[in-house]
């Protein structure tokens, strides 16, 4: 802690963003519940959560647009900004609704941050053109905002936020209003921008797919609290609770209880079946603890007749849904519905009698009640 403070006072080697113990209430509702976050220089940090999880409020606290109810500390680039108004903080926001100024041309919008900083006209225009070039809108400098498409407005908002070279760029669901194809293109573009500029990005999204593709680190929020944080791979492969597994898109969440565990490989009972998997909860598993077995659909395999595959459960084929690249196959078992993914269009289910999966492809987490009591 002392080391940390020293580093901060020099303002060089400490975290670029540090929030300690922030709580924000809207009347009775606790939007952000005693959260602490750090981000390193150049990091792409994603705050992930469903709507109402408090992620946007957290971003607004960082930018200064919201004054938190209680705040331990808030530092940007080592500088204490807890009492600094939004206009004087070394960070800018790309809003989901873009918030472009309708009465200004594209170039004026981009140059606005420089204008209020008193940058002379010539330099202002040059830097704005550069910023527009960066988002590949170099030829739109004199356009009116209402002449632009949604994707182009998005880029203008991005250029406007980047042009002042803030220490941190805050992005509030910036791709939320774009259509699928454009969103995927913009993901790639944002990543390129991030590596080109070396700027710290704090990115808000409700899409686990965006979080996984883009981030160095993901913070998953729920009801104003941090549920899990770590590299995307951690959240994807090692969810710490049923909620995280569900949010990260694990299709099969089956209930059971712990039989025994060596700390990592855990044996659980689901109805008649005994299943092995890797323990991924924050606490050590105890016998009879209710748990959730998490298996991704693409890891579920099929077997015929008798065999010695691990985690074997007998099944009857259910509905098939065509998804283009693959088929979504549901299978009825005595522990509930299991979803599997079939990549081969000619695959026949006629002889399938069992599903199974490797114990390495199976994550076991505390079921939600116990995980919440831990939080």
């Amino acid at each position: 802690m002392t080391e940390q403070n020293n580093a901060d006072s020099f303002g060089s080697s400490g975290p670029i963003l540090e929030i300690r113990d922030v709580t924000h209430r809207f009347g009775e509702v606790v939007a952000v519940d005693n959260i602490s976050i750090q981000a390193q220089q150049g990091e792409f940090l994603t705050i992930l959560g469903e709507s109402g999880s408090g992620k946007t409020t957290l971003l607004r606290v960082i930018s200064g647009l919201e004054t938190p109810s209680t705040l331990g500390a808030l530092r940007i680039a080592g500088e204490d900004v807890s009492n600094t108004p939004a206009s004087d903080r070394n960070c800018t926001t790309v809003f989901q609704h873009y918030a472009l100024f309708p009465h200004m041309a594209v170039g004026e919008n981009v140059a606005y941050g420089l204008k209020v900083r008193g940058v002379p006209l010539g330099e202002r225009e040059e830097r704005s053109r550069d910023a527009l070039e960066l988002v590949r809108l170099g030829d739109k400098y004199d356009r009116r905002v209402h002449q632009l498409s949604g994707g182009e407005r998005q880029r203008v908002a991005l250029a406007r936020a980047l042009v002042t070279r803030p220490a941190i760029l805050l992005l509030d669901e910036p791709l939320g209003a774009l259509d699928e194809k454009l969103r995927l293109d913009m993901q790639v573009e944002l990543l390129e921008l991030h590596s080109k500029l070396g700027m710290t990005f704090v990115y808000i999204t409700h899409s686990q797919e965006e979080a996984l593709t883009m981030s160095d680190r993901v913070i998953l929020m729920r009801q104003g609290q941090i549920v899990q944080e770590g590299p995307p791979r951690d959240l994807f492969d090692r969810p710490a609770s049923r909620f995280v597994a569900d949010f990260m898109g694990v299709e099969n969440l089956l209930n059971g209880v712990v039989l025994e565990s060596n700390g990592e490989i855990t044996t659980v009972r689901m109805g008649e079946h005994t299943v092995k998997g890797r323990w991924s909860g924050k606490t050590t598993p105890v016998p009879d603890q209710p748990i959730c077995v998490c298996v991704r659909a693409e890891r579920v395999k099929f077997a015929e007749g008798s065999g010695d595959e691990p985690n074997r459960i007998s099944c009857k084929p259910g509905a098939t849904i065509y998804k283009g690249k693959y088929l979504d196959q549901t299978l009825e078992t005595d522990v509930g519905m299991v979803n599997a993914r079939i990549w081969d269009g000619d695959f026949s289910l006629d002889t399938v009698s069992h599903v199974w999966w490797h114990e390495n492809d199976c994550v076991i987490v505390p079921s939600d009640k116990s995980s919440e009591s831990v939080n």
């Binding site: 647009l65 004087d88 918030a99 100024f101 009465h103 606005y112 204008k115 900083r117 936020a161 002042t164």
Partner: protein
């Protein structure tokens, strides 16, 4: 025949002929003649507005305006108008009064018009602020007169005319600002703050330019309403004479002054109409371009 009619009515009421009724109304709505009616009604209203005005202007050049004959043409009324000094002070008084009322309306309407959309429950304030629109002019004039002259025992003059004009013009000005202010996206101000603008900067750079058509409209309307105001001024004039008061007195007294009034009204018209044109251009043409 009567039987048929009553059958039809009861069938309609009981919905048996619902289909026919829908078709009937659809037929009425889609009738091609509506466009023609709208066109002609509009034309008639426009003619009713402008013919008397043009006639007034034409008659101001007639030797005998009250005769209704444009000929013989003369500019002697304008010469008389120039020679006559009696109307100059009322005109000056009205112009100055209008400018002050316009300026005050502009500032107050902007302040209040910005505040109302930011309120959690603006209904009550809105009602209080706009209800003077529905108070009859004579009632308002009499009420102010009784309160200021009889109750407070003040000497009436320009200041009391000013109060009456503000009470009259402010709700209109406020409406004009509100039309735009309620559509103003407050998130733009957050974006401006986020980009480094101070509270004053973000008002001046973002909010004011977007509200400008409403603000200018508020000022122009304040001026025009004050400049033309007669009924309240009658009560609150004290010993002052504004332009409308002067015109009214002159026109009512059947004096030899009447021909001058024609000329004077024409001059005033020539000033006010272009002002209105500018106002509408600002309010609509500019607004369309900025959004």
């Amino acid at each position: 025949m009567t039987d048929q009619a009553s059958q039809f009515v009861s069938a309609t009421i009981h919905g048996q002929m619902g289909q026919e009724r829908v078709l009937f109304w659809r037929h009425i709505v889609s009738w091609g003649g509506w466009t023609q009616i709208a066109k002609w009604a509009g034309l008639i209203v426009i003619l009713l507005t402008y013919i008397p005005l043009v006639w007034l202007a034409v008659m101001s050049f007639s030797e005998r305006p009250l005769s209704g004959m444009p000929y013989p043409i003369t500019i002697e009324h304008y010469a008389a108008l120039m020679a006559d000094k009696a109307w100059r002070e009322p005109l000056l008084e009205s112009v100055i009064m209008g400018l002050i009322v316009g300026a005050v309306c502009m500032v107050v309407a902007t302040a209040v018009g910005r505040a109302i959309p930011r309120m959690i429950r603006p209904g009550g304030v809105l009602l209080l602020a706009l209800s003077p629109l529905f108070v009859p002019a004579l009632t308002m004039g009499a009420a102010l007169f009784i309160f200021l002259r009889e109750y407070l025992d003040l000497r009436l003059g320009l200041w009391s005319i000013f109060i009456a004009h503000i009470v009259w013009a402010l709700p209109f000005s406020l409406l004009l600002v509100l039309v735009i202010a309620t559509r103003f996206d407050l998130r733009l101000l957050e974006a401006a703050s986020d980009l480094g603008a101070s509270t004053w900067r973000r008002f001046w750079d973002i909010e004011f330019p977007i509200l400008r058509p409403g603000i200018i409209g508020a000022g122009l309307f304040g001026f025009l309403l004050s400049f033309n105001e007669l009924l309240r001024s009658i009560f609150l004039r004290g010993s002052e004479t504004t332009m409308p008061l002067y015109n009214w007195t002159m026109a009512a007294s059947h004096q030899s002054q009447v021909p001058i009034i024609f000329a004077l009204a024409t001059v005033i018209l020539a000033i006010t109409l272009p002002l209105m044109a500018v106002f509408f251009w600002l309010l609509f043409a500019r607004l369309d371009r900025s959004t």
